[in-house]
């Protein structure tokens, strides 16, 4: 994309602080923003809130990662060494919950907060106060969730999928608190998603049509739709749990006419779209990074949009592929197998489009690009194992084994998490005004790629050989694979320390970045200075459609 095609940078009101930004506006009768900690607590600025989301998410990633390391340490060799089964189950459960709801989702929301207004040329999110509320609900929710570990009887120990009746009749007393914390996190997600949708639909710069939006914006629009559609279903099902536990109802008890499997249907009606919530924004990020570093426009913009929409629609029709062995009638089994397989097609379109974008480009391999490329390869591997799982008869052998664990970590860790890291390296210059240390970035990348594969690749084998998931101890034939996985996990974990170091270093200084930090980049965010001033696009930019 030639540089002169880019929209002209709009003059900035001020490059300085919050105070300066507002003062120039007509409504200067408003209070000056408070300073210090209060400023963060009370802020309505999308960039500050975005940063808070990202920091929160990183913290949760570490906490969830430490739980994973407890799991991996116990599984290092057969036998019970470090923890008791009760605690092991809590670690597995909390690891899943924290990573999904605390690390990956808030990271994407944080990126959306930062980048969606910048990419559509809006002064802020559509509903800035609501935005702050969505964020501050999260620390409340997760403090409560983590505190259940200290309650008598321990925290949630029934897996992140909390199947009834293990989580209702047989759950620990803290389950009620777990449910309430999930309610709070759910409210946060719904409100956050409403805000993002309103921003995208209503705040685009004059002249920017829907089909001019960067793909990150498109994928988030669709993700936000998924969130609003399914988080309430989660809220509904946990409310039913709450009532079964505390008020003697029988939703999930056959004796009263209910059905434990009803729980699973409701949970996965939420749960499957949920996993796409964790991958669609990743697709958007990769679709921004690959064209930038291939110096070539994204191939098949329109088909990317349609593919994303198809994935979202299909995601409502596949939920019971998580339930192939619960004993559904044959027709249901077939229906869900076919619909699930269909998802491979739009996802394939995406992969092919990325590769076509690379074809005949002029490619360089900076850290963001490395993470994006690793994403394409490793996510696709995870997608292949997903397709194998979708074959219902074969899933009778795969289900609830480490093969499934391998599948979802491939799509989640070198998938979702790598895309987040790619995004961080890609946009750090915009956020801080400095490039991230390239050498450290490369170290981080290579140690992560090796670590991640060492951790999760052997899980395919242990799973196929018959190792069930969620067990603290296993029979001897799985010992070697587990040892390798555990070593890999510690390596991958350690390499994340480099990541933190890179970020801190970059915030504190480094090579200065210009407005257009990457030569091949072409979206609106690159027209504002680096670091982006607190207030941008207070006067909407004139948007001129570029290549797609």
């Amino acid at each position: 994309m030639a540089l002169n095609q880019l929209p002209k940078p709009t003059p900035q009101h001020s490059t300085a602080t919050a105070a300066g930004g507002v003062a120039e506006e007509t409504h200067d009768h408003h209070d000056q923003p408070p300073r210090g900690a209060l400023r963060w607590l009370l802020t309505t600025n999308h960039k500050e809130i975005g940063s808070m989301y990202l920091i929160f998410s990183l913290t949760m990633f570490f906490i969830g990662g430490i739980f994973a390391l407890v799991v991996r340490a116990e599984l290092f060799q057969p036998g019970l060494q470090l923890v008791q089964p009760e605690f092991f189950n809590q670690m597995t459960t909390m690891h899943g919950l924290i990573m999904v709801f605390g690390a990956v989702m808030p990271a994407f929301v944080g990126l959306a907060n930062w980048m969606v207004p910048l990419q559509v040329g809006a002064p802020d999110m559509a509903l800035p106060r609501l935005n702050n509320f969505s964020f501050w609900l999260l620390p409340v929710a997760f403090t409560l969730l983590l505190s259940t570990l200290l309650m008598p009887g321990g925290g949630p120990n029934f897996g992140w999928t909390f199947y009834a009746p293990l989580s209702t009749t047989y759950g620990p007393p803290s389950t009620t608190f777990f449910i309430l914390s999930l309610h709070i996190a759910g409210i946060s997600s719904i409100l956050g998603a409403i805000n993002i949708i309103a921003t995208i639909l209503n705040m685009r710069a004059p002249g920017m049509r829907m089909m001019d939006m960067p793909l990150f914006v498109w994928t988030w629009l669709i993700t936000a739709f998924l969130l609003i559609a399914v988080m309430p279903v989660l809220a509904g099902v946990i409310t039913m749990m709450l009532m079964d536990i505390n008020f003697g109802t029988s939703f999930f008890t056959a004796a009263g006419g209910g059905d434990p499997v009803l729980f699973q249907h409701l949970f996965w009606f939420f749960g499957h779209p949920e996993v796409y919530i964790m991958i669609l924004p990743a697709f958007g990020i990769v679709s921004a990074i690959i064209p930038t570093f291939a110096r070539k426009p994204l191939f098949g913009y329109a088909s990317m949009v349609y593919a994303t929409a198809s994935i979202a629609i299909l995601s409502f029709l596949v939920w019971a592929h998580h339930m192939f062995v619960v004993g559904m009638p044959l027709v249901a089994e077939l229906f869900f197998m076919y619909t699930t397989m269909l998802i491979a097609i739009p996802t394939g379109v995406k992969v092919f489009n990325w590769i076509a974008t690379l074809f005949r480009g002029s490619i360089t391999f900076e850290t963001p690009m490395l993470f994006a490329l690793a994403f394409v390869v490793l996510f696709t591997i995870g997608g292949f194992s997903g397709l194998m799982l979708a074959i219902s008869p074969a899933d009778f052998q795969y289900h609830d084994t480490y093969f499934v664990v391998a599948h979802f970590h491939y799509v989640l860790v070198p998938g979702a998490v790598f895309s987040i890291m790619a995004a961080v390296y890609y946009w750090l210059p915009k956020w801080t005004g400095h490039y991230a240390d390239e050498r450290l970035g490369q170290w981080h990348f290579w140690t992560s790629v090796i670590g991640v594969n060492l951790t999760f690749f052997p899980m395919h084998f242990s799973g196929l050989a018959g190792m069930p998931r969620r067990i603290p101890d296993y029979s001897l034939q799985f010992a070697d694979f587990n040892m390798v996985s555990s070593l890999g996990a510690f390596m991958f974990g350690a390499s994340q320390l480099i990541f933190v170091w890179v970020i801190i270093k970059c915030v504190r200084g480094g090579v200065k970045a210009p407005a257009q930090a990457w030569e091949g980049a072409g979206d609106l965010e690159w027209t504002v200075p680096s670091p982006a001033p607190l207030h941008t696009f207070e006067t909407p930019p004139e948007f001129k459609p570029t290549s797609h």
């Binding site: 060799q77 293990l166 434990p260 110096r295 098949g300 092919f352 002029s362 360089t364 069930p468 001897l476």
Partner: protein, 370 residues
């Protein structure tokens, strides 16, 4: 000393593993027609994915190398091509249809539970399996038999560590066996890889599945649905016998069951009850209340030195027969015969320093069950 032991077990386990590794990295082919079908389905999809992967990643790495900046400075500007887009939508679709056809056939076969020669009811309980041969009056529970000391590492782990039980499920070769599967408490999942049967057991509902085993042998599996604390310690062992051997076995079991039923009416000595009770206790109750009756507070009460229990036989009998609703303590009245119930209660009242001297008689239990 402990460290030395740990080292030895470590080394021991490595030796034990190496031969297993030779075929321990892929799905087993198994010993039923269905398991073979599933295995070949698995290998087919796997190779299809490998081929697609090689092509896709091949083009990708070619582009990365060929069009890296140092070799290719002017990037092209194309960004659309309807022909290829249609192509790479339809070709995968055809591949998927190709996969779906054999998968559908296999699935239909798996769902055909009709015309079985034998019905076995499988009930999952925290944390053991109960098997009943329907219409034959034979039933028993099957629990982990690996000693605790191996789990904690005080003893060397044996070849079938965690995959061994006190009473395997015995099945005939060559006959179609229908499984009716349910659970008493939470959801479990009965899985034996070599038989390619994995089916959740849902409390209050019944699932069906079936096998026709082609080769005699011993096949091992595990519970495959998180069911609480001892989910990892809930193995399954199936002993597949030649058909006539199986008939003899079944007849013997029937005979033994009949004998035990006769025993209900007679007066049992304390020693006899204690002996039988210890068996039952260690197999059924110890997973929660511990072998030494110490329980693990607060979730599972101690039975050793439990004042309330020892002072009140009625309460004790009632709890064991009827369970405590809403807790993991299940009602055992339908899971055990009067002899087992009487002996386990007697055992609890006289073991671990609980010296009440009470001998609860099977006949007494029998009369309560009616």
């Amino acid at each position: 000393m402990r460290r030395k032991l740990a080292l030895m077990t470590g080394a021991g386990s490595l030796c034990g593993v190496t031969p297993a590794l030779a075929n321990g990295w892929n799905m087993p082919v198994g010993v039923t027609d269905v398991s073979r079908d599933i295995h070949s389905l698995h290998m087919t999809i796997f190779w299809i994915c490998v081929v697609i992967g090689v092509v896709v990643f091949g083009v990708m790495f070619y582009s990365l190398l060929r069009f890296r900046r140092s070799r290719h400075t002017d990037s092209a500007n194309f960004h659309e091509n309807t022909t290829v887009e249609i192509l790479w939508t339809t070709v995968p679709l055809l591949i998927l249809v190709g996969m779906a056809l054999p998968a559908t056939a296999t699935l239909r076969q798996m769902y055909d539970t009709s015309e079985a020669d034998l019905d076995v009811m499988i009930t999952g309980q925290q944390w053991r399996w109960r098997y009943e041969y329907l219409g034959e009056d034979v039933g028993f529970t099957s629990s982990l038999s690996t000693p605790r000391a191996q789990i904690t590492g005080e003893e060397e782990r044996q070849e079938h560590y965690l995959l061994e039980v006190d009473e395997p499920l015995v099945l005939p070769v060559g006959r179609k066996v229908r499984f009716l599967m349910t659970a008493d408490d939470v959801i479990h999942s009965w899985w034996v890889p070599e038989l390619a049967v994995k089916q959740d057991t849902i409390p209050g509902f019944v699932n069906e599945n079936w096998v026709r085993i082609n080769e005699p042998g011993i096949y091992r599996g595990q519970c495959a649905e998180l069911c609480g604390k001892d989910h990892a310690f809930m193995p399954i062992v199936v002993h597949a016998m030649e058909s006539d051997e199986f008939d003899t076995w079944l007849a013997d079991r029937k005979e033994a069951a009949a004998q035990e039923a006769l025993g209900v009416d007679r007066e049992w000595a304390l020693d006899e009850l204690m002996e039988r009770g210890e068996q039952v206790y260690n197999s059924v109750c110890a997973s929660c209340h511990q072998v030494d009756g110490s329980g693990s507070e607060p979730a599972f009460p101690a039975l050793a030195g439990n004042e309330q229990l020892l002072s009140d036989v009625e309460f004790h009998i009632d709890v064991v027969l009827n369970g405590v609703p809403g807790t993991p303590m299940a009602a055992y009245r339908n899971n055990m015969n009067p002899v087992e119930l009487a002996s386990v209660i007697t055992y609890e009242r006289n073991a671990w320093g609980n010296e009440t001297g009470d001998a609860v008689q099977p006949s007494e239990i029998q009369s309560r069950l009616e």
